[in-house]
């Protein structure tokens, strides 16, 4: 039914009144982990207009000062700054906590924030090991608070439309999915250890992980390739694409996982009193066996070339053709029948970093009323985050693992099962 001009004008006139009558609630919002990505999320919180930024936390005083300056410039607020998240939670009683620390800190900070009564927006992957992620999920359920995980590809427009294309049978029956993230690179030389820079609480940075010597290669920003703090490319990139697979399939988990990889190009990992290298694999293949299809992951950090058109993303191989879902290159369907035309949709990302955090934050805010679960809820994100972590267990043990996704146990392999957890450095206690 088309609106008459009169009705349209009346509707238009009413809109400002409705907005005025419902002033936005402002959530007391805090950020733990105030570096590059943390500020990206905080920008969305500020721009959405429903947060007052009350506190920032970082173990690096320089990062903290830069973040406080950033907030002041954006919103005029002067948030309190903390070097220890426990003190922040205790004193500020935030209603929303954003967590953008390295992965090894996700579980302890998320669980503490939930127990302090806050809703949580935490970066992906949920945990650094499987049972940390499970503990986060359990605590979220007990607390009744909302947890959104930073899997922004769940809501990114070209991902959503690609998923629709797949589910409507656009690519036909899918038998295999191939996930990948390729970059150039070469040999890695050890970097010298150094005293931590002034203002960096290196002990707290390492936290539950082993206290290793400081090296500029780790901080700022280099931790993703150090297995004490992250899980390499599979943990960082792989989780996004494995999440896309779980969005598409009706299955909840794979039954068997095998991974191989290493550092033939970067060279052996080094860690001694003088110097160190990263220790994540420079290439890796992981196979995820589902009931009705097989999914593979592969990454390389060398051999950048033009031989392969797409460097990042997922190929869904179907009877009607191949769908590539990418990053900045959007999605493209390559039909099996050469007479049919390719179908393409551009990405719609926020730059400079090519994400869709604005949509993910809006979805988070909408879910705080309790009417709907957030799109990257802790339940969904837990299932997706477990997959790269299981891939890393197979890589470490050098054999395939049989996964019971209902009980969340590895069958018949005590050594692999032990890697569902990790030892924590005292006084930190493994959650759950």
């Amino acid at each position: 039914m088309a609106l008459s001009r009169r009705q349209f004008l009346a509707a238009g006139a009413a809109a400002p009144f409705i907005l005025a009558a419902r002033p936005h609630r402002k959530y007391r919002t805090a950020l733990i982990g105030s570096g590059w990505w943390g500020k990206n999320i905080l920008n969305e919180a500020i721009q959405a207009g429903q947060s007052s930024v009350v506190a920032l936390c970082d173990v690096d005083a320089g990062t903290l000062e830069a973040a406080a300056d950033h907030v002041k410039g954006l919103s005029g607020e002067s948030p309190k700054t903390y070097g220890d998240y426990r003190e922040l939670l205790d004193k500020e009683k935030p209603e929303i906590v954003i967590i953008a620390t390295p992965d090894h800190w996700h579980a302890l900070t998320s669980i503490a924030a939930l127990k302090a009564g806050a809703h949580v927006f935490v970066e992906k992957p949920t945990g650094h090991t499987v049972q940390e992620s499970r503990a986060m999920l359990n605590t979220a359920k007990e607390s009744g608070k909302v947890v959104q995980v930073g899997l922004h590809r769940r809501i990114g427009p070209h991902h959503v439309s690609a998923q629709k294309f797949l589910k409507e049978g656009g690519a036909g029956a899918i038998g295999m999915v191939r996930l990948f993230a390729h970059y150039g690179g070469g040999a890695e030389k050890p970097s010298p250890n150094a005293p931590p820079p002034d203002g960096l609480n290196w002990d707290l940075y390492c936290g539950p992980s082993a206290l290793r010597p400081f090296c500029r290669k780790i901080h700022p920003g280099g931790w993703r390739q150090f297995l004490d703090f992250g899980n390499g490319q599979l943990g960082d990139w792989g989780v996004h694409w494995l999440d896309q697979v779980l969005m598409w399939t009706d299955e909840k988990f794979p039954k068997r996982i095998f991974s191989s990889g290493g550092r033939p190009v970067k060279g052996p990992a080094v860690l001694n009193e003088k110097e160190q290298t990263t220790d994540a694999p420079d290439h890796q293949v992981a196979v995820y066996e589902f009931e009705s299809f097989t999914c593979t992951w592969e990454h390389r950090q060398f051999g950048d070339n033009q031989a392969e058109k797409h460097q990042i993303g997922a190929y869904f191989y179907g009877t009607k053709g191949t769908l590539h879902i990418g990053w900045r290159d959007g999605w493209t369907f390559y039909p099996s029948n050469g007479k049919e035309k390719m179908i393409h949709q551009d990405s719609q990302l926020q730059e400079p970093d090519g994400h869709n955090l604005k949509l993910l934050w809006a979805d988070f805010l909408a879910s705080l009323g309790g009417a709907q679960a957030p799109v990257a809820s802790i339940e969904r994100a837990h299932r997706s985050s477990v997959l790269p972590l299981l891939g890393m267990i197979s890589l470490r043990t050098g054999r395939s693992i049989a996964w019971d996704g209902e009980k969340e146990t590895i069958q018949g392999d005590p050594e692999a099962s032990a890697l569902l957890r990790r030892p924590y450095r005292a006084p930190w206690i493994y959650p759950g």
Partner: protein, 411 residues
């Protein structure tokens, strides 16, 4: 006028003229004779032939982002290969290596290709060069003989900033000034002995800038501020707090008519300050221009600079924008898309833009808009080093260390 005052005025004058042995088109240091990124030469302004501009010669100098100093027919730059930095002196005519000096240096390739990031400085028959770890050399320009060398952290206890020392040395009077420590470092330029040093905090990445005026102040940057210092004493005159992520106060300030323009990346933005008597005062501040690595240039009443941060993966591109912003007001006049973050300099009323992916664009500097009259892809890979115009040649390089001498003489 006191004798001391006369000395300093004389030193400033010599600085502006670029020293006695220089010809008018020499570019003896980072940002050029007037430390403003602007060349007094004329430059090609028409479309290039189909094959692109004429390449006069090519050279290989190793990985890095050092730009060029050009004086007395010699071109200086630095590159890294096989765990060594090498300072090169090339013949401006043909690119032949006249002399070189290697010293052990880490590549340091976290988040970028690595290698040295500072540009050598020519002062008479001397050349000064500094590596990222603080290895400082004074060479005889004609022979390449090392006259003296220092190691800033070992010899003077200066902390190395996160990305290594990136500012170039400034020769001023009898001093060699370095952006090292919280508010600079002064050495005697004849033998490198310490004159004064500042607090042991991480420096920024700018080059010491002599401020106009009788005070003879020099502007340094730390990781958290821009600081004006009296180089005779090392005493701080004033500071402007300026906090940029990871301490990357890298883009050089632009100072004129009692005003100081600052701009840095990571979303920080830009501001214009009135400087002079008393504490600096903000004239305007906004996020209109965020120059992360290379500074803007100011032509007429307008700033031309590149807004945006580079990608943190070597080889990856990150779209950026060339912007024109009114100096006095901070009002944006236009934007022009670039394939990747690069650099901009100016000559002859034209902008010389090298996009981060190696496309060279030349066109009139105008607040009406940017319409490049000549453009060509000249280099592959990442290009952050500012091209230098001298003697009708434009010297360009990329991250891997390929150097081009391009003929840009006005026909």
């Amino acid at each position: 006028m006191s004798p001391q005052h006369r000395f300093w005025t004389g030193a400033a004058l010599a600085l502006l003229l670029g020293g006695s042995s220089l010809s008018a088109d020499d570019w003896p240091r980072w940002r050029g004779p007037a430390q403003n990124g602007i060349s007094a030469e004329s430059v090609w302004g028409d479309a290039w032939p189909a094959g692109g501009p004429k390449i006069l010669w090519k050279a290989e100098v190793g990985v890095g982002f050092s730009s060029f100093a050009v004086a007395a027919g010699r071109v200086y730059t630095i590159g890294n290969a096989s765990d060594h930095d090498t300072v090169f002196c090339l013949d401006a005519e043909n690119g032949k290596v006249l002399w070189y000096h290697p010293y052990p240096a880490e590549l340091g390739d976290k988040f970028f290709e690595g290698g040295p990031t500072s540009t050598p400085t020519v002062d008479g028959d001397r050349v000064y060069a500094i590596g990222r770890a603080g290895d400082l050399f004074c060479f005889q320009a004609s022979s390449g003989k090392v006259l003296w060398s220092k190691q800033l952290s070992k010899d003077f206890g200066i902390p190395v900033p996160g990305w290594g020392f990136g500012g170039s040395p400034l020769a001023l009077g009898t001093q060699l000034l370095l952006n090292a420590g919280e508010a600079g470092l002064a050495l005697d330029k004849t033998d490198g002995h310490l004159l004064w040093k500042s607090a042991a905090a991480e420096s920024g990445y700018t080059t010491p800038l002599l401020l106009p005026g009788d005070d003879g102040l020099v502007l340094f940057s730390s990781g958290k501020a821009y600081l004006a210092v009296d180089p005779r004493t090392g005493k701080e005159a004033w500071r402007v707090k300026w906090v940029t992520n990871y301490g990357v106060n890298a883009a050089d300030p632009i100072v004129r008519d009692g005003q100081m323009f600052l701009s840095t990346g990571y979303g920080k933005g830009a501001a214009l300050f009135a400087i002079g008597a008393g504490e600096p005062r903000v004239v305007w501040q906004s996020r209109v221009l965020r120059t992360q690595i290379n500074p803007a240039v100011q032509v007429g009443g307008f700033l031309y600079g590149i807004d945006g941060d580079a990608a943190s993966e070597p080889g990856a591109l990150q779209k950026a924008q060339l912007k024109c912003v009114e100096f006095a007001t901070g009002v944006e006049k236009w934007t022009f898309p670039l394939a990747d973050v690069g650099s901009v300099s100016a000559a002859d009323g034209k902008l010389l833009v090298l996009s981060g992916d190696g496309e060279l664009l030349i066109g009139p500097a105008s607040p009406e808009g940017f319409a490049p009259t000549s453009r060509a892809k000249v280099l592959r890979g990442r290009c952050w080093s500012v091209p230098v115009l001298s003697g009708g040649r434009l010297f360009c390089r990329n991250a891997e260390g390929q150097v081009l001498s391009i003929d840009v003489k006005k026909p």
